[in-house]
């Protein structure tokens, strides 16, 4: 493991250097706060941010992605046969992501890279990607990452971790991928004090997180107990079934596959989908197993907090970033719902 230290004044230069061999995505300051997106050449990831509305999900699972292209022109060779579109193999790096967002990428991996099937679109992006984390010294009030098995300084899913230490960024290269990136960026080697300083910052940051969730009792209940619990209609009453929470969520992976055609040329694309949408699960017959708005909301929380937990036996499908809490237009709060589920006592 290699310690890293880089002066803030050298940051832009290092990023310029690394862009020669990497495509970067990172936080960018825009009119209305920071957003996380693919950077243009010469753009520097801005690490002086508190939160990004969208997460690193966009890098491994873009909102829209072309899967295949085809021609409907019967005079052409191979018409009506789907061909994969070329993929840019340049290594990519997501720079400045929060450590708990990196954990979200691992959660996505559970869904997209299973024993039975590997999603090639996710897989190639994932393998190609170096995750350069930026620890969070001042977690926001809605952050509850520490109770989701991760935290503002969690190193477990990153290739590099960086932290703000005043006039410089300090950190560690945690994996081989990380060391490669550090070399390409020409990060200076940090001294022995780095480790201690990181530990100190970590303790401070984690101490600032007051908000938490617990799911110890959810684990022990059966799916049907929770599913049939009486509080769902009330908990979900306010929900307007927009897709805000699912799009902002770094772990929500649902997608939709659509064909688009212009003239005789077509593509098959996949787009983010949201379980809040009415067309998400409606059958062709018009029958919808989750017809009522509150049933769809229940499905979302049950998926995140129970189905996932049971299926993978590895915690909940939530990293505690708090985006859905702060962005929800009607203030439905996953922390409150989780509490409600955990406190529920099935009457038997």
């Amino acid at each position: 493991m290699k310690m890293i230290s880089i002066k803030k004044s050298d940051w832009a230069g290092a990023m310029e250097k690394v862009q020669k061999s990497y495509r970067l995505a990172g936080p960018v300051k825009e009119k209305k706060g920071h957003t996380f997106r693919e950077l243009k050449d010469g753009e520097t990831p801005d690490l002086e941010y508190s939160e990004t509305r969208m997460s690193v999900k966009e890098v491994v699972l873009p909102q829209s992605e072309v899967m295949f292209s085809y021609s409907l022109d019967e005079n052409k060779e191979g018409h009506h046969i789907l061909e994969e579109v070329p993929f840019d193999e340049t290594p990519r790096a997501a720079v400045g992501i929060r450590p708990y967002d990196a954990k979200a990428v691992e959660i996505l991996k559970k869904n997209f890279m299973t024993e039975d099937y590997k999603d090639p679109y996710f897989e190639r992006r994932y393998e190609n990607l170096t995750l350069v984390g930026m620890a969070e010294n001042n977690p926001s009030p809605v952050n509850f990452s520490t109770s989701c098995g991760t935290g503002p300084f969690d190193e477990s899913c990153l290739d590099i971790i960086l932290a703000d230490a005043g006039d410089s960024y300090i950190g560690k290269a945690l994996t081989e991928k990380g060391e490669k990136f550090a070399a390409a960026a020409g990060f200076a080697e940090g001294d022995s004090g780095v480790e201690a300083k990181l530990a100190e910052l970590k303790e401070q940051a984690e101490g600032k997180i007051k908000s938490k969730v617990s799911f110890d009792k959810i684990e022990k209940m059966t799916i049907l107990d929770l599913y049939e619990a009486p509080f769902w209609e009330e908990a979900a009453f306010a929900c307007i079934n927009c897709g805000t929470c699912t799009y902002a969520c770094p772990t929500c992976w649902c997608f939709d596959i659509q064909d688009e055609v212009k003239g005789k040329d077509g593509v098959r694309m996949r787009n983010w989908d949201t379980c809040m949408s009415e067309v998400y699960s409606v059958h062709t017959t018009g029958h919808d197993p989750r017809h009522e708005a509150w049933q769809r909301t229940r499905n979302r929380f049950m998926h995140k907090l129970k189905y996932y937990l049971d299926k993978y036996e590895d915690g909940i499908m939530c990293v505690g970033c708090g985006r859905c809490v702060s962005q929800c237009p009607v203030n439905i709060d996953i922390r409150k719902v989780c509490q409600q589920m955990n406190d529920y006592e099935p009457s038997k």
Binding site: M67, F68, H80, E84, N111, T222, W253, K306, K311
Partner: protein, 283 residues
């Protein structure tokens, strides 16, 4: 070397189209693979489904109606309902499209071998059952199973699928076919009249550890068949059902087809009633 892209369909050509029902809403499509080696890769078992993939329109999951014992083609019987199926119904022999699969699990043949099979089907959910019967009565397989009883019903004689085959099977003495319609004015109708659950009640083989029921049909039929089987003493782990839900990817990734933690496309579509009882009724 990366594994094959599970979203990429095998190119196929429509070889034959048969209109199955009087209302012309059901057609059976026979597909032939453009690349003969794809047929081997598409090795399937009765009960599985595949995504029919029409470039420019989209994909639709449909149960495989042909049997693994039938070589050289695959068959699907498709009800004209949505965007993709309506377009499919307008296609003609010779057109090229895609086929992706086989997907999902199958009726548990590993367990079913050596057992008595009671098949209860209704309406156009009969396709994978057709595959199963065809497979079981194949000379190479028939000896592997005990008795085979089949109850199959539709609204009217004109709604019955695979009429020729039904007649052929009815003439065999190693399959007990019980065909029924909800009603008909045809004075020459030689089979049962009445709803599937009522007929099932009359003709079902006795429940035993060696008898399994495979039930596939519209929700109403399933709802009323279950008490009949309960009454007859069928255990819930001896009742096998095939579910359907809205799907997109077919490989357990896109999320929507879940019933509880189970994904109908990958963990199903075949479940035992015992399994289904533990999940929310979201199908």
């Amino acid at each position: 070397m990366r594994a094959a892209n599970p979203y990429k369909p095998y190119p196929v050509r429509i070889d034959e189209i048969i209109t199955e029902t009087d209302d012309k809403l059901l057609k059976t499509f026979k597909f032939v693979f453009l690349n003969p080696e794809d047929e081997e890769k598409f090795a399937y078992k009765s009960g599985q489904f595949a995504e029919l993939s029409i470039p420019g329109q989209g994909e639709i999951p449909i149960g495989i109606a042909s049997s693994p014992t039938e070589k050289g083609f695959v068959k699907f019987t498709v009800f004209k309902a949505g965007k993709v199926t309506s377009y499919l119904h307008s296609m003609k022999v010779g057109d090229v499209m895609g086929l992706r699969g086989p997907l999902g699990n199958w009726y548990p043949w590993e367990i079913l071998e050596g057992k008595n099979i009671f098949i209860v089907g209704g309406g156009f959910a009969y396709t994978t059952l057709r595959s199963s019967i065809k497979m079981m009565i194949d000379p190479a397989n028939r000896s592997k199973f005990g008795t085979i009883d089949v109850v199959y019903g539709a609204r009217t004689p004109g709604h019955l699928l695979y009429l020729d085959e039904l007649n052929e099977w009815g003439d065999r003495d190693d399959v007990n076919m019980h065909i029924t319609v909800d009603g008909t004015d045809d004075p020459n109708w030689r089979f049962h009249k009445g709803f599937v659950p009522q007929i099932a009640d009359k003709v079902a083989p006795p429940a035993s550890d060696d008898t399994y029921a495979i039930v596939c049909g519209p929700p109403m039929m399933i709802k009323f068949t279950q008490p009949v089987l309960d009454k007859l003493g069928y255990k819930h782990d001896h009742i096998i059902m095939s579910l359907e839900n809205r799907m997109k990817c077919g490989i357990g990734m896109c999320g929507r087809c879940n019933i509880g933690k189970e994904l109908v496309c990958k963990d199903g579509p075949v479940f035992t009633l015992e399994q289904i009882n533990k999940t929310p009724r979201e199908y």
